[in-house]
Symmetry: C2
Subunit: 245 residues, 2 copies
């Protein structure tokens, strides 16, 4: 398929790695990208550490069409993402006039309201374009194929909504899901056989445990609805007439 | 600090990257590791793709003391983690007799119950030791510093509980959290000043938005309780007497 558009997500945040906070941005962008045919190939979560961020950005941006980051663009001392992006690209960083104007308008137009801390949110790598949003006066920004966004979920979502229309889209994968309430080991052989007969469809088995019983969601993905319907019928043949003992 | 013990987590799963499933294993292991003084430095989520898995394992296992993986050790055709681990380490893979015995006992002792699919769960890289657990007869395994575990959350948890006592522990970081219901840009300057006076304590500001209002959780981490108490008192001085307008 020549139509593959690929992406990676970089979550910047000590708080995720310490377990203090549960990330919700990955699932949001994964869902949004899948819906427009962009394939999320990798997610990395790194600490608020310059070397870790710079290395991850430089690794990911060469591997995929689009990189999205979340976190570290606020006004406090531990918000180092903008500086890290500048370093990763070898770009200068300074107060961006467009970003300053956005902040000034947001804080009511009084220049004295633009404290040093607030101006920190207008420091943007030189060469980046801004990602504005309706919820926050502090913009995200785009360095080539890297989209730098906020970590606060509501703002992240608003920024993703701004960015999505600007992206190249790929072929949207359609999928069907068949839930089978029996252990994977019982269905593995016929499932492999179905997969072998439909190599153009990707079939995944996603096991779960519910009330002490094992089951699996069988998901088939492809771009031909007619073939998917055939596969769906085959997968349904694996559903037990009555629950296994 | 010579006491740092580091870790990375590798989530293997198309279903996380497509947005179909929300990962919960990362938060679980992050919390467990933090509690015993092991620092989770990075998380990667990769697809059920051999090259992606092998590359990630070989990159992470050289960077940290312990790697933990989740997913892809079941009996279906898309469970390729064991083969990928063998490839990453350059080890052979075959049916492990101890794992076969566990499965045989689990399935009631009848050798004919050990179908090819079920035996697939006993294929373990040669040189690995097993991670057993009470919930599933299919074991995880350990290749040097890489701990390979199931993706189903209840089984992942059970395996983590088995593994934790075997790990070298680091100095447990203590932390205090102070919630401040005002925008980060208002507290950024005094917060940076507190951080500068207590360089031995790491202070993070984790902003949130609640009912349309911004606030932040200020978290200080360190290994000296007395110093942390001082920092906590200073952070509390940033809490407004009454909410900002």
């Amino acid at each position: 398929m020549s139509q593959i558009v690929s992406a990676a997500m970089l979550v910047i945040g000590d708080e995720i790695l310490s377990g203090r906070t549960k990330d919700v941005n990955v699932n949001h962008i994964a869902t949004e990208l899948t819906a427009v045919g962009i394939r999320l190939l990798e997610v990395r979560v790194v600490a608020d550490d310059e070397n870790a961020i710079v290395d991850a950005v430089n690794s990911l941006r060469q591997q995929v069409d689009y990189v999205f980051s979340s976190g570290g663009i606020g006004p406090t001392h531990d918000d180092i993402t903008a500086d890290c992006m500048a370093k990763a690209f070898g770009w200068d960083i300074e107060v961006n006039e467009e970003a300053r104007a956005l902040l000034l308008a947001g804080y009511g137009g009084d220049p004295s309201s633009l404290t040093e801390s607030r101006l920190r949110m207008a420091r943007i790598p030189v060469g980046a374009s801004l990602i504005t949003n309706a919820l926050s006066w502090a913009p995200g920004f785009v360095c080539e194929n890297v989209h730098v966004m906020a970590g606060v979920p509501s703002i992240f979502k608003a920024m993703v909504a701004e960015v999505l229309p600007t992206l190249r889209k790929g072929a949207v994968m359609q999928s069907v899901t068949v839930r089978v309430d029996r252990g994977e080991s019982v269905i593995a052989a016929p499932l492999a056989e179905i997969q072998a007969r439909f190599p153009q469809v990707g079939i995944g088995s996603y096991p779960f445990s519910e009330n002490g019983k094992f089951g699996s969601n069988l998901v088939a993905r492809g771009d031909d609805a007619a073939v998917l319907a055939q596969v769906e019928a085959e997968l349904k043949s694996l559903v037990p007439e009555e629950p296994d003992k």
